[in-house]
């Protein structure tokens, strides 16, 4: 953990501890701060080299904000984002200098959620994919050659270089985004719902491409998704988020087999199963997702939890280890027998 750890020797590449990101709510003539949106309010993650960690939760639970914080997109409110940089060793992105962050960006990249908005429509593919190269001083024909290689790597023809994004379909645009993220040969890539905006038929192609690239370059992925079924095949571990907090994190098989948080159970119950006779009753969550600007007392999930007891309303549960490598944020974690699904075929 100390900065002295020799680079690249540790198996962990990213360790996030109790990350918090609160956005001010401003009102009135002088824009006074009248409250805070606790978009991220207690996220703990650990990602191994070459591994995939899924980050799952409903829309608005703070996944994108977490991803952006990890890449230094915001001044975080609190917490540590420790990144094991191959050149710098362990650095805390939450309190890093500008120069160091510039260097970290060569090793930590992101594929954005929206394949339409994330490519500048006024730039050619060469300029888009070549932008990180240009920023790092690679110009002219060398840059062109690198872009051509990257395009073939993601399954696009290098001749497409002179085209503008409007010439491409959603899936192809996401490939361009992937090529851009890989341009500097990073070690860790955050994939922020890379397929949720795409047609189902194309989703599988992009997921396969990501897996191929992972095998080839030993990439570590933080894979954000809002449904558990997307991550089941590709993730080694899964962290489940609810209203800014990680409520459960465990190896994928364990989480599916034996979830320990009622929210995870509810998410799992809606995953379609291969055997229709084995279909469990879907647990329909009552009530609204808690408002991150005005969260309920105690456990944030208690207004919707079917197991809630008095304690849940009063005390906020901590993220505690249930078994080795399995963390849960629930008072009743040890007492409940929750329904899982049989482990997904790996």
């Amino acid at each position: 953990m100390t900065a002295q750890t020799p680079a690249g020797t540790e198996a962990t590449i990213l360790r996030v501890r109790d990350l918090r990101m609160h956005f001010p709510i401003q009102k009135g003539f002088l824009r006074r701060t009248v409250g805070w949106i606790k978009a991220v309010d207690g996220v703990d993650l650990e990602l191994g080299r070459g591994q995939t960690l899924g980050l799952v939760g409903e829309s608005g639970c703070g996944k994108t904000t977490t991803a952006r914080c990890i890449l230094g997109g915001y001044e975080v409110t609190d917490g540590e984002i420790l990144f094991n940089d191959p050149e710098l060793g362990w650095v805390d992105i939450a309190s890093i200098s500008k120069d160091e962050m510039f260097s970290v960006r060569r090793n930590a990249q992101i594929i954005l959620q929206d394949p339409y908005g994330s490519l500048n429509p006024r730039m050619t593919v060469l300029d888009i994919v070549g932008e990180p190269l240009l920023i790092n001083g690679i110009r002219g024909s060398e840059r062109e050659q690198r872009v051509a290689e990257l395009l073939s790597l993601v399954g696009l023809r290098p001749e497409y270089m002179s085209r503008y994004p409007h010439a491409f379909s959603g899936g192809q645009r996401q490939r361009i985004g992937i090529a851009r993220a890989l341009a500097l040969q990073p070690q860790m890539v955050i994939c922020d719902e890379p397929v949720s905006a795409l047609d189902v038929s194309i989703q599988a192609q992009i997921l396969n491409l990501l897996e191929e690239l992972q095998d080839r370059f030993g990439l570590a992925y933080l894979f954000v998704a809002h449904q558990l079924n997307v991550v089941s095949h590709i993730c080694d571990r899964v962290a489940v988020m609810y209203v800014g907090k990680v409520v459960e994190s465990a190896p994928t098989g364990q989480l599916y087999d034996r979830p320990r948080h009622p929210y995870t159970e509810a998410l799992l119950s809606s995953v379609p199963r291969p055997d229709p006779r084995n279909q469990a009753d879907e647990i329909v969550l009552e009530g609204e997702v808690a408002d991150p600007a005005n969260p309920p007392s105690g456990c944030l999930f208690h207004p919707r939890c079917r197991y809630a007891v008095e304690q849940c309303r009063l005390e906020e549960p901590e993220l505690r280890p249930a078994t080795a490598g399995h963390f849960v944020r629930c008072h009743l974690a040890d007492d409940l027998e929750l329904m899982g699904v049989s482990a997904p075929a790996a």
Binding site: L30, R31, R68, L71, G73, M101, F102, R105, R106, Q109, I110, L112, Q113, D114, G117, S118, L119, N120, P121, R122, T124, E131, P132, I135, N136, G155, L156, R157, S162, R163, Y164, H166, A167, S169, G171, Q172, G177, R180, I202, Q205, N208, L209, E212
Partner: protein
């Protein structure tokens, strides 16, 4: 993974052209589909070309009076003399006094045709106040005869020459005013939108204050405050500034709004995550994304400025004779009786209407074409 790629492999030439079309090409294609805008753009180009070369285009000096031709109606260009085809010519006027009304009336002297020539010698001038010349675009072969295609005013000055000279002042006020407002608006709007926080707060409140003042009284007060002893040039720039004082606020709002919206765009964020510097983000991502839109907004502002100058000069607070601007010319036709008896004096008004409409059409066309990625 290759299935999707395969389906789009061969590209026909037509789509290839579209696929590699830049923003400006797409914009041009879309603009060209807007016929009214294209025609208007040509009309505007025509007027500005005229404004650049007024000394040459105008057949006479706009300020030289001629007692023999007071309130002379427009002359007609004729092609038939004594029943035979003749090169284009005019008949001069002979005037006599109407015995009943005692007014001067003009009749054409059909004895003597005066052929029209191009590139003729005429009143001497200094082009842009610098280079001497005496050639005019067109005029009569006979230097003693006169051609008044738009008639004359009270002092017998050629209306056409006066309207032509007016284009220079009036159209350039719109143009310079817009550039001035653009500079102010982009600077303050950009700073406001980019830095946000207290700076933004301060600039926004200042803009709201300026915009909450009623525009016309503000103009009146400011132009009335310009010192009377100023030279024509000083007054000209003074008026331009007065007009821009209000106009920049609108541009600043547009720039700020765009900056704020663009700052949140995913592709800007993506550039930031790639390690792009602030300068790179501003000049490579933000500015190119707003120029097209800004050009459209500016085009729609110019006619307002032209009208503002006209209005100020009309009520005597803007430019004043001997400066020749469209507003000054309109001020001459304030009297309803002169308009009724000499309607040709209103030709300035027609020019103003045409130019303003053309600017609006062009601006609309540009605005529709400005964001080629919406459809």
């Amino acid at each position: 993974m290759t299935a999707e790629t395969m389906t789009v492999l061969p590209a026909a030439d037509a789509t290839e052209r579209l696929d590699t079309a830049s923003q400006w090409q797409l914009m041009r294609w879309r603009f060209l589909r807007h016929k009214a805008a294209v025609v208007s753009l040509f009309v505007i180009a025509f007027f500005y070309a005229m404004a650049i070369a007024v000394e040459f285009v105008a057949p006479y000096d706009p300020n030289i009076p001629n007692v023999f031709y007071q309130y002379a109606p427009p002359m007609r260009i004729r092609f038939l003399h004594e029943g035979r085809l003749h090169r284009p010519f005019t008949y001069d006027y002979v005037q006599s006094r109407d015995p009943k009304t005692l007014r001067m009336v003009f009749a054409e002297d059909e004895e003597q045709p005066h052929p029209i020539r191009f590139w003729v010698k005429g009143d001497p001038y200094r082009f842009w106040g610098l280079w001497r010349g005496d050639r005019h675009l067109f005029g009569l072969e006979n230097p003693d005869a006169r051609i008044f295609l738009l008639g004359t005013d009270e002092l017998g000055r050629d209306m056409l020459s006066r309207v032509v000279y007016g284009t220079r002042i009036s159209l350039s006020i719109g143009f310079i005013g817009v550039i001035l407002s653009l500079a102010l608006g982009v600077l303050l709007g950009g700073v406001s939108g980019y830095f946000g926080g207290t700076v933004d707060l301060f600039i926004q409140r200042m803009i709201e204050l300026l915009q909450s003042l009623p525009q016309i009284p503000l103009w009146l007060t400011l132009s009335a405050a310009l010192p009377r002893e100023w030279t024509a040039i000083q007054i000209y720039f003074g008026i331009t500034i007065v007009i821009s004082v209000v106009a920049w606020t609108e541009i600043a709002r547009v720039v700020r709004g765009r900056f704020l919206a663009l700052r949140e765009e995913e592709f800007v964020l993506a550039a930031r995550f790639l390690g792009a510097s602030e300068t790179r983000i501003i000049f490579r991502h933000l500015v190119p994304s707003m120029t097209s839109h800004l050009i459209a907004v500016l085009t729609l502002r110019i006619p307002e400025m032209i009208l503002a100058e006209t209005a100020l000069s009309f009520i005597g607070l803007g430019l004043q004779a001997p400066v020749v601007s469209w507003g000054v010319l309109l001020a001459d036709v304030q009297n309803i009786r002169t308009v009724a008896s000499s309607p040709w004096l209103f030709s300035t008004g027609v020019c103003i209407i045409v130019v303003v409409l053309c600017f609006n059409f062009t601006g609309d066309g540009l605005r529709d074409a400005a964001d080629p990625y919406t459809h």
